[in-house]
């Protein structure tokens, strides 16, 4: 059995979370709330040392005062705590949204559209590749609502549903297996790291 206090904490919290399988109970809720608190606390430390210090404090110490502009823009978020100046919060949101949207459009065209199409049309006419191309077209038709889904369009869209069902089945099976793998790793932790029953 482990003598490490941290392993004991991890083991007891693991069991606390699994206690939810019986029913919602105070031990589970304690673990749940602790998880929220420690996760947010981790974000505080992480952001402080990986964003606040290297991107604001150190540049200012080095005489790079340009970072004070985004710092000031960021500080405008706090305007939401006043009634009179609450509208100022729109400025940091406008900058984040505008720049974010501007950056995302060409990147999405490149990675989300062109790369996907490029990978689909490999130019090798094997049965598998034809199944792939047909599947992409049919799936897109299923989500195409500008035309009424009847006749040829309806038929193509219905084929798309078959493909989607296969994909959902595969994704579901894969996700269940991933979750079970996580469960196995937790049981291994309890039996090996904590209790030392298995080697």
């Amino acid at each position: 059995m482990s003598t490490n206090i941290w392993v004991w904490i991890a083991a007891l919290l693991t069991l606390s979370v699994y206690s939810f399988l019986y029913k919602d109970n105070p031990i589970y809720r304690f673990a749940e709330y602790l998880f929220i608190g420690t996760s947010v606390g981790y974000s505080i430390g992480f952001l402080y040392w990986n964003a606040f210090i290297p991107r604001i404090v150190r540049p200012v110490q080095a005489g790079d005062y340009i970072v004070l502009i985004p710092t000031f823009i960021g500080l405008l978020f706090f305007a939401r705590f006043t009634r009179k100046w609450t509208w100022l919060v729109r400025y940091p949101i406008a900058i984040s949204l505008g720049i974010g949207a501007g950056i995302s459009i060409p990147l999405t065209i490149q990675a989300g559209i062109f790369r996907q199409l490029q990978a689909t049309m490999v130019g090798d006419f094997t049965i598998s590749n034809i199944i792939m191309v047909v599947g992409v077209i049919c799936t897109l038709f299923y989500f195409f609502f500008s035309l009424e889904q009847k006749g040829v369009v309806g038929g193509v869209a219905k084929t798309g549903i078959w493909y989607i069902m296969i994909a959902f089945g595969a994704i579901f099976g894969y996700t269940v297996m991933a979750r079970i793998a996580l469960f196995v790793s937790r049981v291994q932790f309890l039996l090996h790291d904590w209790l030392g029953i298995i080697k």
């Binding site: 693991t14 947010v40 978020f77 919060v89 900058i95 459009i105 065209i109 595969a170 996580l182």
Partner: protein, 208 residues
């Protein structure tokens, strides 16, 4: 000043960074890097607002002695304690901050996700009743993937892993790609709506 200027800034920022993508020049790259830096700096303060929201919600619960208010003390104490350890000690390995991460945050995150295995299994039992041919296809594929990914699958039939691989590589990938293309078009559409000021929900309603 209250509504038009933010819309102009949003439009200007969006257009500049769409154009920037097509200019392969060091200055253009420097502008892009600086913009990313600005976004990260601004997001630090956005996180502070999120933190305030957490403290307000739980603080109100404690103040008004709402049912279960005692539990609200836990996230606040944990957040302050872990955050303080992080700021004071740093985020190096061996600090209390990292121990909390390795022995509380990571195991609990894994446990919560593994908990879903049980609920997914019970949900599947209800949802996977083979009432239609399509649902049956979903059921068969899910079963094949699950069965083929455990040692007994290939033991029963050697060809099973190859079939699963093929399902993932072709029919499943085809649908996933179709959905990804739709999502990509959706992102572009929504981004354009924001840049062009068609989508104004982010302006909120206060201080018109």
């Amino acid at each position: 000043m209250k509504r038009t200027f933010p819309l102009v800034i949003c439009f200007g920022g969006g257009i500049i960074f769409i154009i920037q993508f097509f200019i392969p020049h060091p200055v253009s790259k420097a502008i892009y890097d600086e913009a990313l830096n600005w976004l990260i700096i601004v997001s630090v303060f956005a996180f502070a607002i999120a933190l305030e929201s957490l403290f307000r919600v739980h603080g109100t619960k404690i103040k008004r002695r709402k049912p279960g208010w005692g539990f609200s003390v836990i996230p606040l104490v944990a957040c302050i304690t872990v955050g303080a350890f992080g700021i004071i000690q740093g985020v190096r390995e061996g600090t209390v901050f990292m121990k909390v991460f390795h022995y509380i945050t990571v195991p609990m995150s894994a446990t919560v996700f593994s908990l879903l295995a049980f609920y997914m299994a019970s949900a599947a039992f209800r949802a996977f009743r083979a009432t239609t041919t399509r649902a049956t296809v979903l059921l068969i594929v899910a079963f094949l993937v699950m069965f083929g990914r455990v040692p007994i699958g290939p033991f029963v039939w050697k060809g099973l892993p190859d079939i699963i691989e093929w399902i993932f590589m072709y029919p499943s990938m085809a649908a996933t790609r179709g959905i990804a293309l739709g999502v990509g078009l959706g992102i572009i559409g929504t981004s354009l709506k924001i840049i062009l000021g068609i989508e104004k929900g982010w302006l909120g309603g206060g201080g018109k």
